[in-house]
Structure formats: C-alpha cells, structure tokens
C-alpha cells in the first residue's frame, strides 16, 4: 500500500491520488475546489453518537406540541403530525405530503438507516443489506429539512407574537437541538471509513466475504 489510491472528483471528474489530511482538515479537488473528504477523526463512532442522540430527540420532537397559542380565552397547540393532519383536513393534500416527507419521513429514514449500519459495525458485524442502506442514505439526505422547518417555525412565532400569546413547546427546543445533531452527524460521516471498516471485517471473518467488498480499484 505504498501508492495512495486514486479517486475522482465528483464535481469535475479529475483523477487524483488520495492525500492524508490532518485532523479536522479537508481534502479539496485541486482543479475545481470541490470538497472531497474530511478527516473528522473517529468518524464512525462520532456519527453513531450523533445519530443516537438525534433518534432520541426525534421521538420527543414528534410526541410533544411545538407551539401553543392563546387568544381571547381560546387555546390551541400543535404537534408536527397535527400540522400535517390539519393541512390534510383543509384539502391541502399535496402540501401536507410535502411537509410530512421533508420533516418526518426523510429525517427518520436518514437517522434510522445510519443506526442500522453503524450499530452492528460498532459491534463487529456487517448488517444485511448494508450497500442498499448506504444508497438509501444518499438519496434521502437532501430531502430532510429539519433546519428549514425550524426557521419556518420561528418566523410563524414572530408573526403570531403580535396577535396572541404564544408558548413555545418542548418539541420546539428538541427541534432546535435535533437540527444541530443532524448536521453534526452528516458532517462527521466519512463514507471512506465506513467501507474501510466493512472491508476489514470481511477480511477478519471470511463468511462475510462477498463480491461487494472486493474493492477493485484502478491501477
């Protein structure tokens, strides 16, 4: 392994050799400047930790009301799924679907898939269907919009603040934290380390050896 492996930039297709990156540094394409990979140090363990935290917060964020509102003795509050339900009931089916997919379905799939891959790897075995799960994460990730939803909630609160007494709910704080954990998990995740771990495990235990880990790189 004296020659570092070749990689191609995903934005301009330039072939280049992998370089070692100092801790917290990043490797960039030398032609177009695209971010190729980072050295986040202990990537898989940290991603696992962030994902576990995100999973817990996700439950809280979906189970409790986001905001409560009080006007002239009337009180309402809404959970995230309640928001989707109201949109659905007011014949805004497509908007309801959009909100559901981007704030609940995609983030849950993202975190769920990460845990499904990383927990077993941590304990030394390769979960069934890991390649498909990995591809699922790549597809799902751009559509999870927790941070945008957070901004939308804050704007709504500010808008209503003039008219009525608004009370931020537990879920609002959970969403705020969830936003950071989801971002941290995405930033810490280095797919190269994931595949390196899978290959190392496959070498250790021949029963996992399959054609998916032969890793036939360019010469």
């Amino acid at each position: 392994m004296s020659v570092p492996p070749l990689i191609a930039c995903h934005e301009c297709d330039l072939l280049q050799r992998e370089v070692t990156v100092r801790f917290l540094g990043a490797a960039r394409c030398r032609r177009c400047g695209a971010l190729l990979y980072r050295n986040t140090g202990n990537s898989l363990d940290r991603t696992l930790a962030y994902s576990l935290g995100a999973a817990v917060l996700m439950i809280v964020a979906n189970a409790f009301p986001i905001v409560g509102l009080e006007a002239s003795g009337n009180r309402t509050s809404t959970t995230l799924i309640g928001t989707v339900q109201t949109l659905y009931d007011t014949d805004m089916t497509s908007v309801a679907a959009l909100v559901f997919v981007t704030t609940i379905l995609m983030p849950v799939l993202d975190v769920g898939a990460m845990l499904y891959m990383l927990l077993p790897l941590k304990f030394g075995w390769v979960p069934k269907g890991l390649p498909a799960t990995f591809r699922l994460v790549q597809t799902v990730r751009p559509w999870g919009m927790v941070e945008v939803f957070m901004l939308g909630t804050l704007v709504s609160l500010a808008k209503l603040g003039h008219l009525a007494h608004v009370a931020p709910g537990v879920a609002l704080w959970s969403f705020g934290l969830l936003m950071f954990l989801v971002a941290a998990s995405a930033a810490a995740f280095d797919p190269r380390e994931l595949w390196a771990r899978v290959e190392a495990l496959a070498r250790q235990r021949p029963e996992f050896k399959s054609r998916t880990v032969s890793g036939e790189a360019a010469t």
């Binding site: 928001t83 939308g152 360019a218």
Partner: protein, 207 residues
C-alpha cells in the same frame, strides 16, 4: 503533468460511494461495492434538468399570483400572495421577517432558476468560460435551494395553530401548492444536472 479525468482514463465513479471501477463491457454496470448503477455521466442529464426547470418556470407564475394564505376572521377575509405577505410584514414594522421571506421565497427560487438556465446553456454550448465560477454557482444552487421551503412551513404552522372557529381561521391557499412544486422541481433539476459536464469541454479544446 496534464489533467486526466476518470472518463478519459476509461474509469467509472460510483455516484453513491465514490469507488472507481473499470467497466466490464456487455452487461448492466453496477458498483461492485454498493450496487449503485454506474454511468460515465448522469443519464440524460441536460434534457432531464431542462424538463424540470421549464416545469418550475411555468409554476413560478401561479406560485406568485395565487394566494399562499387565506385568513378569515370576524372582520372579513383576506388573501395573501407571497409578495403581499412581504409588503404587509414590512409595513407592520417587522422588516427582518420581511427580509427572510423575501430572500427565501422570491429571490432564491428566481436566482436558482436563472442560475440553472445559465449552467445548462453554457454546458450545451461547450463553453470553457469561467469553469471554476460556474462550478461554484452549481454548489450554491444545491446548497441554498432548500431554504425556499420556509414559506411553506410558515403557512403550515399558521394553518395548524389558528383554527378558532368563530374568531379567526387561517388556511393555506392554492399558491402554496404551486410554490411547493417550484421548490421540489428546482431541486430535481439541480440533482439531474451533472457538474462534470461543465469541465468536459476542457479536454476537447486542448486535444
């Protein structure tokens, strides 16, 4: 040392996991590591991106003309388009909110569609004009597009909260559907576009 791309070296990069492989001919190509289908460039990148983009342009009109929010109260009812919402916020003194909504809902989607149009046309003309800047432009389009969803979420939360039967009701309007479609379609357009096409003319020119 001259620059060589994976395509020129006869190698395929996996979109999902980044593994380079040398294609075996004659059958469906899939990444040996993660199973993703392999292509030299995203298939039909330009026509797919155009299709999504044109659809987005068309829907941009109803998104801005139709009301995104309908408010009903004791004192009558009111419909707000995105722009009238911004104007209302501005006049009621909440200019930071007005600025957020204006940037996220009007500026960003408009700029994004123009940027994609520029990228698509320049790629089709095999332009070698400002390669790095155009790549950066693509990166920004990808990064910033999602923030346009803010207005949808605002309409959603207000709808859910303001349901006092007798006093006041807020309902998302038909403009919200068109606007949501614009955001989703431009995201699909950006995803279909292959930034490597920007760099492909480099080698053609230099032989």
């Amino acid at each position: 040392m001259s620059a060589v791309t994976a395509a020129e070296a006869g190698l395929l990069v996996c979109h999902a996991c980044g593994l380079l492989s040398r294609p075996a001919t004659g059958h469906h190509l899939a990444c040996v590591r993660c199973g993703e289908s392999l292509h030299v460039r995203k298939p039909d990148s330009i026509s797919r991106a155009w299709a999504f983009l044109i659809a987005a342009y068309v829907l941009y009109v109803p998104a801005n003309v139709l009301p995104v929010m309908e408010t009903g109260s004791l004192f009558g009812s009111q419909s707000d388009t995105i722009m009238s919402g911004v104007v209302y916020l501005w006049h009621s003194g909440s200019w930071p909110l007005a600025a957020i909504i204006f940037i996220a809902s009007i500026l960003v989607p408009g700029a994004k569609m123009v940027a994609l149009t520029v990228l698509l046309i320049s790629v089709q003309r095999h332009s070698t004009w400002r390669l790095q800047d155009r790549t950066k432009l693509y990166r920004m389009v990808e990064l910033v597009g999602r923030w346009s969803m803010v207005d949808i979420y605002v309409a959603a939360i207000l709808t859910a909260l303001v349901q006092f039967k007798a006093l006041a009701m807020i309902k998302a309007g038909p403009g919200a559907i068109a606007f949501g479609a614009v955001v989703v379609l431009t995201m699909f357009a950006a995803e279909s576009f292959d930034p490597r096409l920007i760099w492909d003319p480099v080698k053609e020119r230099h032989g």
